[in-house]
Amino acid sequence: MSSTLLDPAVAAELPDVLPARKQRGRVAMFAYRHPSIFAGGLLVSLVVASALFAPWLGTADPTALAPAKRLRSPSEIYWFGTDMLGRDIYSRVLYGTRVSLQVGVMVALFASVIGMFIGLTSGFIRVLDTVVMRVMDGLMSIPGILLAIALMALTRGSVGNVIIAITITEIPRVARLVRGVVLSLREQPYVEAAVAAGTRVPKIIWKHILPNTLAPITVQATFICASAMITEATLSFIGAGTPPTIPSWGNIMAEGRALWQVKPFIVLFPAIFLSITVLSINLLGDGLRDALDPRMAKKI
């Protein structure tokens, strides 16, 4: 991985000097130009694949109890060992990928869509702006994890509710981002011209604003996805996340936390999976940002 990981700025200065590279095929070229996207994308695809094909990857029923076979160390039979109820950790971790990805992707999607809607509304309808932005400020000023814990206390534990809780905490960031873009675009001559020409607002949004917000939102969405997965794990770790019958990474770690000293593998395997997944999504986000908007890359 590290051999392909070149700084994008360096890569950008080089391509014309090395025409021979073109012969190596498109994949290598892409990997060379966008090493973060390539490495991140590859890892993400691996994780997605292991989630999709979990049933065919040598797993057992991740929820099947066998108290007689509890706390076995990793072996040929139990690749990652078993937990305190005798469940196979390898199977649980692999199926847990589904939960984490589901949470990450759904939160990113919902937060982006809702945040975009709020940001656009508030950017265009000035009457609402103050009120909406104060509400967003209020939401942002409550630490996300506390808000999520409180929301989880309100509802019963389920993956859907975890998604909703984390989404609510992520919306303000997207909303502010979009509003910022809208406000700066409104000043642009071509938008002002469109407004002056009496173009209707939906059309302005569709033609001028949306295309310009898509890039930053896509990048933001990958980071939200990554942070939502960490938040999910933390919520489950505290005991306010997905119900324990569902094998999510956070749940596996929460169940193993007390035995951290004696059976470290219970925490370590899901932790490694979580870290690699989040890492690869972050890499992908970094790469996308560099590729989509080199100017923004300098900002953060």
Partner: protein
């Protein structure tokens, strides 16, 4: 490069200065650092029945009588008593010279007020109250119960170890509404509670009460001399079991009330740590069904559970692999006491039979019904039981709606009598301290009085008659036969399903001596080298 090297150098210097070996740790033998089973959020063991609250209250308050390790009540604050032949007039005399932590003398006015508050809340207290003509102070040190019916279990009621405990508080505090928590913690027990140093959720401090009047007898549980060898006891609340275990290993705490069983092998390896059973009376796991709503309003559905549930699965999930820590319990009562019984428990004995359970369910037309299983997942014991039950219910053809929640929410939800579809429930899990299950008196969960019974509202006249028979039993033989009949009636009714009997550990640093097994931590008599 210089910059970076400088930075590395300074940070290394800082690290090594901080990383002194732990020789400087306090060696004060007068300070005990104790990790309790749960957070201490109040000290009122009359208004509330949490075990952790009661354990702290034992330090601060004293009782008129106190049970010893055979659960025999012995005089504690009382010098003694006289009772008439009919067991109706009980006269008690306080020891002279007892003082509360605020310096005031303990008088019978305080006693009467305290007992009046306690009688409202306690099951045995309520029986006394229902038979009471008068509870009166005769002089500063003498008081009397005048009953209109005999009550043979008076001393046990005043000295029992399960909450609500008949603690003696100053009159002004005892006048608090029995359903409201007291907020002033003044008692006459061996330790004073330092309310000013209390950080709820983290730290509770008790200082030795110099004027405590120690009985001359050797201390034995709640009886005899409560000799305190510490000037200060600090309760350190640790929400993370791994952290508590690590703190005990590194000597940052002296005593851990309930180490989880799977950490015990690790603690045993450490030669500075001693591990032993905490409470010889152990605990009884409980699968509690709601008797008001289908499917478990039908006794056949409840019996099907008894046929299918494997106590071994439950117990291994709760306490782990060590077979010394649990046993099958074909009974509602704590095993190993003179009145233990296994009468009428046939359905729990023998190999588990899913087919028979399914057959019974299909006869009742309940195969495939939906069961709302509400589980407090923040408590290891209830969570482990819930996981096993979910698995078992599926095997006998129920559709399981697993509601994962925390103990606080469960506490609210299980009180709802509504159907499960409208916010009610079908099954929840808990456990009962074995010391509370030795006989029907402290055993709230056994009561089958319908609407007035504990959550689940079981109703069985046979069970209720059995309980009354036990209260009336004049001798051990009669008690035994009453208990046997009661156990059978409870199994016929399937009041709840016992999921097994289990023991929990306690662990302490070897610097401590005198730690005993009891249903609560006994601090008196413990010394630190």
């Amino acid at each position: 490069m210089l910059q970076r090297r400088d930075f590395l150098k300074t940070s290394a210097a800082v690290t090594s200065a901080l990383a002194l070996p732990n020789i400087a740790r306090a060696q004060a033998s007068k300070l005990l650092r104790f990790v309790p089973q749960a957070n201490l959020s109040s000290l009122d063991a009359v208004a509330g029945t949490q075990y952790v609250v009661r354990n702290a209250a034992f330090l601060v308050w004293d009782t008129l009588y106190g049970v010893d390790s055979a659960l025999t009540p012995k005089p504690q604050m009382c010098e003694g008593h006289t009772v008439d032949a009919e067991l109706k007039t009980w006269t008690f005399k306080l020891r002279a010279g007892l003082k509360f932590h605020d310096g005031e003398k303990v008088t019978t006015r305080d006693v009467v007020a305290s007992l009046n508050r306690w009688m409202v809340r306690d099951t045995m207290g309520q029986i006394i109250k229902s038979r009471l003509d008068a509870l009166e102070a005769i002089d500063d040190l003498t008081f009397r119960f005048r009953l209109n019916q005999p009550f043979s279990k008076m001393l046990f009621a005043l000295g029992k170890n399960n909450a609500p405990v008949a603690f003696i508080m100053p009159e002004r505090i005892a006048k608090t509404d029995p359903f409201k928590l007291i907020s002033e913690y003044v008692g006459s027990g061996p330790m004073r509670f330092r309310q000013d140093l209390w950080v709820p959720g983290a730290n509770a401090v008790f200082d030795r009460y110099a004027d405590y009047s120690v009985r001359p007898e050797p201390g034995d549980w709640l009886s005899g001399g409560k000799r305190m060898h510490f000037d200060r006891i600090e309760w350190k609340i640790m929400p993370d079991a791994a952290t508590a275990g690590a703190a005990l290993q590194s000597g940052e705490v002296d005593w851990w009330e309930n180490p989880i069983a799977d950490l015990v092998p690790l603690l045993r390896k450490n030669k500075n740590i001693a591990v032993d059973i905490a409470d010889p009376f152990g605990n009884i796991g409980s699968l509690r069904m709601n008797h008001l709503h289908p499917p478990f309003n039908d006794v056949r559905a409840r019996k099907a559970l008894l046929m299918a549930l494997d106590q071994q699965d439950y117990m291994q999930a709760v306490v782990g692999d060590n077979p010394d820590l649990w046993k099958r319990l074909p009974s509602f009562f704590t095993p190993g006491t003179p009145v233990s019984t296994e009468e009428g428990a046939d359905l729990l004995k023998g190999p588990r039979n899913y087919e028979a359970a399914k057959k019974l369910l299909s006869e009742a037309g309940l195969l495939g019904s939906k069961v709302t299983l509400v589980v407090a997942t923040d408590i290891a014991i209830t969570k482990a039981q819930g996981d096993v039950t979910a698995d078992m219910l599926k095997r006998i053809g129920f559709e399981v709606d697993f509601v994962a929640t925390d103990w606080g929410t469960l506490g609210a939800r299980r009180a709802k009598k509504d159907p499960p579809s409208q916010g009610g429930w079908n099954i929840f899990h808990s456990w009962h301290a074995g010391a509370d299950c030795v006989n029907p008196a402290p055993y709230t969960a056994l009561d089958a009085g319908g609407d007035k019974a504990w959550f689940g509202w079981p109703k069985s006249d046979e069970v209720q008659q059995g309980i009354l028979k036990w209260y009336a039993a004049p001798d051990l033989a009669a008690e035994k036969s009453a208990m046997a009949a009661l156990n059978k009636a409870s199994f016929d009714n399937v009041t709840y399903a016992p999921t097994g009997f289990f023991l929990l550990y306690q662990a302490w640093r070897n610097t401590l001596s005198g730690v005993v097994k009891a249903p609560f931590p006994v601090f008196w008599g413990v010394q630190k080298a």
